[in-house]
């Protein structure tokens, strides 16, 4: 369970950004979360609430966009979404591929603020 420390990092980041912008209020944090990031969405959401407690972000929302896992198929020569993270292969031609293009994201992409 490392979601709490990750949630605390997110709150810190958002708070720093809010201060940098002159102490604006943060309504929501937009996060991109890859399915291969090793972080569980539900655990992160509940940890976020705890991490916000008694900070200027209390009451703010964490909006998570889940990023599916995309691999490069060497046979088709294009990027494809895997059907399951238990099977790293091209969903069209079934060629196995270890080349992950997307799906490891764990990044704050935007803040909803009020000046």
């Amino acid at each position: 369970m490392h979601e709490l420390s990750i949630a605390m990092s997110i709150v810190d980041m958002a708070q720093q950004e809010a201060e940098r912008r002159g102490g604006v209020q943060v309504h929501a944090v937009h996060l991109r979360l890859g399915l291969l990031s090793g972080v569980v969405k539900e655990a992160l959401l509940s940890s976020y609430e705890m991490a916000c407690h008694a900070t200027p972000l209390e009451g703010s929302q964490l909006l998570i966009e889940e990023i599916p896992v995309e691999v490069f198929c060497p046979k088709c020569g294009v990027a494809r979404l895997v059907r399951s993270i238990q099977w790293f292969c091209c969903p069209e031609c079934a060629t196995p591929t270890p080349t992950v293009i997307r799906g490891k994201e764990l990044e704050v992409v935007a803040l909803e603020i009020q000046e």
């Binding site: 937009h30 291969l36 099977w87 292969c89 270890p98 992950v100 803040l111 909803e112 603020i113």
Partner: protein, 256 residues
């Protein structure tokens, strides 16, 4: 009246702090010419026994050291000290994984140039360590025959983040009717092309093949050392495949 809420773009990697330290560590390891291997597995799959055997077998010919992560005890470090290699315990307290900063603190003051291999044993956990780059060259994921063949399918993220899979406790395989073919199939499903070694730290079976692999990989930092001494420049990108964990997927292809 205050203005309407508006959306501002930020774009910040949440683990940036860890990644920055990990990159600096990797550069330091590379310049010192030490091959750094981290070990992850569930608790009780034999990381410490495997590491003790590895240190003991490498010790006569190489300069080896280990860092061991544990939630609360120093038992592992005490066991590993029997190999006579320098061992340092990292007690993580309530933290369920190692982070790059802990490794940085642990090697503080070490002259890494005097090492050929550095092993980092992570806390026994197949979930949390997957998110944290430690600056290692290779991440080994261990799976003991007693755990069942489907571990890779249950924890695809950590298996996918690793470079090498090691099936441990092979001396017990027959007793638990371990289906090796199924285990290998499952490893390949979550990480196509991954090297797999099956061995027993207790009987020594399979250790030679795995040690040969390690020694072959250790030749590569020597290349970096040579490159650095030539003109002080960085090694060419084509040689630093193992240094980019983000591009871990490409590592396998370039190694194959």
């Amino acid at each position: 009246m205050s203005a309407e809420p508006r959306l501002v773009e930020v774009r910040k990697n949440v683990l940036k702090q860890n990644d920055v330290i990990a990159r600096a560590l990797r550069e330091r390891f590379r310049q010192a010419g030490v091959l750094v291997v981290s070990l992850v597995s569930s608790p009780g799959s034999g990381k410490t026994a495997f590491l003790e055997k590895t240190l003991t077998l490498l010790q006569p010919r190489y300069r080896v050291a280990a860092l061991v992560g544990d939630l609360a005890t120093e038992n592992d470090a005490a066991r590993l000290a029997r190999s006579h290699a320098p061992v340092k315990q990292i007690i993580t307290g309530t933290v369920c994984h190692l982070e790059a900063a802990m490794v940085q603190n642990a090697v503080d003051g070490w002259d890494l140039k005097h090492l050929d291999f550095l092993f980092i044993e992570n806390v026994g956990n197949l979930v949390c360590p997957s998110s944290y780059d430690l600056g290692e060259d290779l991440r080994f994921v261990l799976l003991s025959v007693t755990e069942g063949e489907d571990k890779p399918l249950k924890y695809p993220t950590i298996f996918n983040s690793a470079d090498v899979a090691v099936i441990t406790k092979s001396d017990l395989a027959a007793a638990v009717e371990f289906d090796e073919a199924a285990a290998r199939r499952n490893v390949q499903a979550v990480r196509p092309g991954m090297d797999v070694f099956k061995l027993s730290a207790k009987s020594g079976e399979g250790m030679d093949k795995y040690l040969e692999f390690l020694e072959r990989r250790a030749m590569r930092p020597a290349l970096f050392r040579h490159d650095l001494s030539q003109d002080g420049a960085r090694a060419p990108e084509s040689l630093v495949d193992a240094s980019q964990r983000e591009g871990s997927a490409q590592k396998t292809t370039s190694r194959a």
